[in-house]
């Protein structure tokens, strides 16, 4: 029992869950969306500054949630900087597969030159906890809504 739990609650996740990075609302952001998980009532807002060159200059978030959703939001803000919208979308796609797809091979993503993705692999334990997938992906769904102008999203 403890093995799978340790796999889920890795040190990195516990750390980011307790001490989230890029927490708060920075000045000058130009994209934002609110994400909501109606299952548990968790809510978070993702802020993005999309620069003129089409790359993400800054990402931050605020809100309340479980260790998984807060850690996921925190790591998301760290790995986004410097990416284009298309690259962020591709990362979300890989992340989603990491959390849900048994056949997913993280090495395939290495082909994208994704050093960042290695950092996200701490969430691979989520696969064993299907009800927690929504927690892990809430920030990503919200990011998607922010980048594509949808404003609000839920994990339903």
């Amino acid at each position: 029992m403890l093995d799978e739990l340790r796999e889920l609650y890795q040190e990195v996740i516990l750390d980011h869950g307790k001490n989230p990075r890029n927490f708060g609302r920075p000045d000058g952001t130009n994209r934002q969306a609110e994400g909501y998980n109606p299952l548990c009532g968790d809510r978070l807002t993702v802020y993005v500054t999309l620069a003129d060159d089409g790359r993400i200059a800054e990402a931050a978030f605020e809100g309340k949630g479980c260790a998984i959703s807060v850690a996921s939001a925190s790591l998301l803000t760290e790995v986004l900087k410097g990416r284009t919208v298309a690259e962020a979308d591709a990362l979300f796609d890989s992340f989603h597969r990491l959390c849900t797809d048994d056949a997913f091979d993280p090495d395939d993503v290495a082909a994208l030159g994704e050093e960042a993705f290695e950092r996200l692999q701490v969430f691979s334990g989520v696969k064993q906890f299907p009800v927690r997938v929504k927690c892990a992906t809430l920030a990503w769904h919200t990011l998607h809504a922010a980048l594509h102008g949808e404003g609000r999203t839920t994990t339903e």
Partner: protein, 423 residues
């Protein structure tokens, strides 16, 4: 009849009237023998839905195997037989609630539908713009949203009775909300999220004195308390059969006959009509007027068996057993560092909501699930109440008649593991 239900109507635990024997009771619930993640199932999510004894499972499969047809329709033997069983279930529920007449019992498709029925049919029939409906901050969404929908349709106003920081219902504050414009008071008997038992008899008396009708949400009271709608003088009383060890897919609405008789139909369809032409339709008497379409027939029969089961054990014995579990659980949980119990009302049913420092309720739920312990983590469909405490969620352990002190220990041990990971 299924093989493990050779005596489907046998009294649970033959000596149960003399002494409540939880081990015997547990034998009646096949699912409690299941293991999850290699651990015995410790099922503490009874406020969400309770498990079913073989008496209920047996009665339902027996009905499907020997006595099934549509009710109130056919002239044939099987339909008559099924109709008798269905109406017998109504009579059992009548006795369970202490109602005066069987036609005061309406079978709906769930407790939520039962509240919607009253909010729609009584609400649109008798409430108008400016009339007031008084709710409490303890309410489940199912006893909030139907009244908000009514507000959109008719322009009624909604007032909300408060609680104190321990979750006690503030009766004096409630009384101040009553005015000559108060036409309906819709309040829970027991809070699903905190376990608070409201002073429902006094609430009803005060509401009646103000000229208002009262709907009681009894979903959490029905499994835990002896009920007597006539002694309470409730106008409407709603409960969910699946929380009293019966099936899902059916709800119960009790209503005083004179009120139900005066109310317009809720849904139109078969069974609820007397005569239909394209110019005009006349409706059946109660209860059938409110049971449009094919009703939950087998579910009603299962509910009848659940009522028999509870009656055989005796609600008083159940209450005493659960009070012991509540006291023990409150004590064990209070000893866990960093754990705070939310809801310490003076009158409380066997529901314990709590939060832990450093661990979100969802994380608590996940960790203890791996120890086989099932609790609810979330807002319990009571978001205004969560907001009242400045929370988005709690973890909630809710105890039923088959739970044991050893299971409370299993919960406490599992929570110690939560501390290990998150403290």
């Amino acid at each position: 009849m299924s093989s493990n239900a050779s005596a489907p109507y046998a009294a649970p635990g033959s000596n149960s009237m003399l002494a409540f024997d939880v081990a015997r009771v547990r034998e009646d619930f096949p699912i409690l023998r299941q293991e999850v993640y290699g651990k015995p199932l410790v099922y503490l999510d009874n406020a969400a839905s309770a498990q079913k004894p073989r008496q209920v499972i047996g009665a339902m499969s027996q009905a499907l195997e020997t006595c099934y047809a549509n009710v109130h329709r056919g002239a044939h033997y099987m339909s008559q037989h099924a109709t008798d069983a269905y109406e017998q279930a109504r009579a059992k529920v009548q006795a369970f609630l202490g109602a005066e007449r069987p036609e005061e019992i309406i079978f709906t498709h769930g407790a939520t539908e039962a509240i919607n029925l009253v909010a729609t049919s009584y609400g649109q029939g008798f409430l108008k713009q400016g009339d007031e409906v008084v709710l409490s901050v303890l309410e489940h969404h199912a006893n909030i949203v139907p009244w908000q929908l009514l507000r959109e349709r008719t322009g009624i106003e909604i007032k909300v009775a408060p609680i104190d920081d321990d979750g006690n219902f503030l009766f004096d504050e409630f009384e101040k909300l009553l005015t000559p414009r108060t036409k309906m008071v819709a309040i829970t008997h027991i809070s699903n999220a905190l376990g608070t038992i409201t002073p429902i008899a006094a609430i009803i008396e005060a509401a009646h004195a103000a000229g208002a009708k009262v709907l009681v949400d009894g979903c959490q009271a029905a499994p835990h308390q002896h009920l007597d709608v006539r002694a309470l003088d409730a106008d409407f009383y709603v409960f969910a059969p699946h929380k009293i060890y019966g099936p899902t897919g059916i709800g119960v609405l009790y209503g005083k006959a004179d009120l139900l008789n005066a109310m317009p139909p809720y849904q139109g369809g078969g069974e609820m009509i007397r005569k239909v032409t394209f110019e005009e339709t006349t409706f059946q008497d109660i209860p059938h007027r409110f049971e449009a379409g094919t009703p939950p027939i087998v579910e009603a029969i299962g509910l009848g068996a659940a009522v028999d089961y509870l009656s055989a054990i005796g609600q008083t014995a159940v209450e005493a057993h659960e009070a012991g579990l509540l006291a023990y659980a409150s004590e064990r949980l209070a000893d866990i560092p960093g754990l705070t119990i939310i809801g310490r009302a003076r009158e409380k049913a066997s529901i314990v909501s709590f939060v832990m420092e450093g661990a979100h309720p969802h994380d608590i739920g996940t960790v203890i699930d791996r120890a086989g312990v099932a609790v609810r983590a979330g807002h319990h469909c009571a978001q205004p109440l969560m907001e009242r405490f400045g929370l988005s969620a709690t973890a909630r352990a809710s105890f039923g008649l088959y739970n044991t002190r050893e299971e409370v220990d299993a919960l406490a041990d599992a929570l110690a593991k939560v501390r290990e990971i998150f403290a």
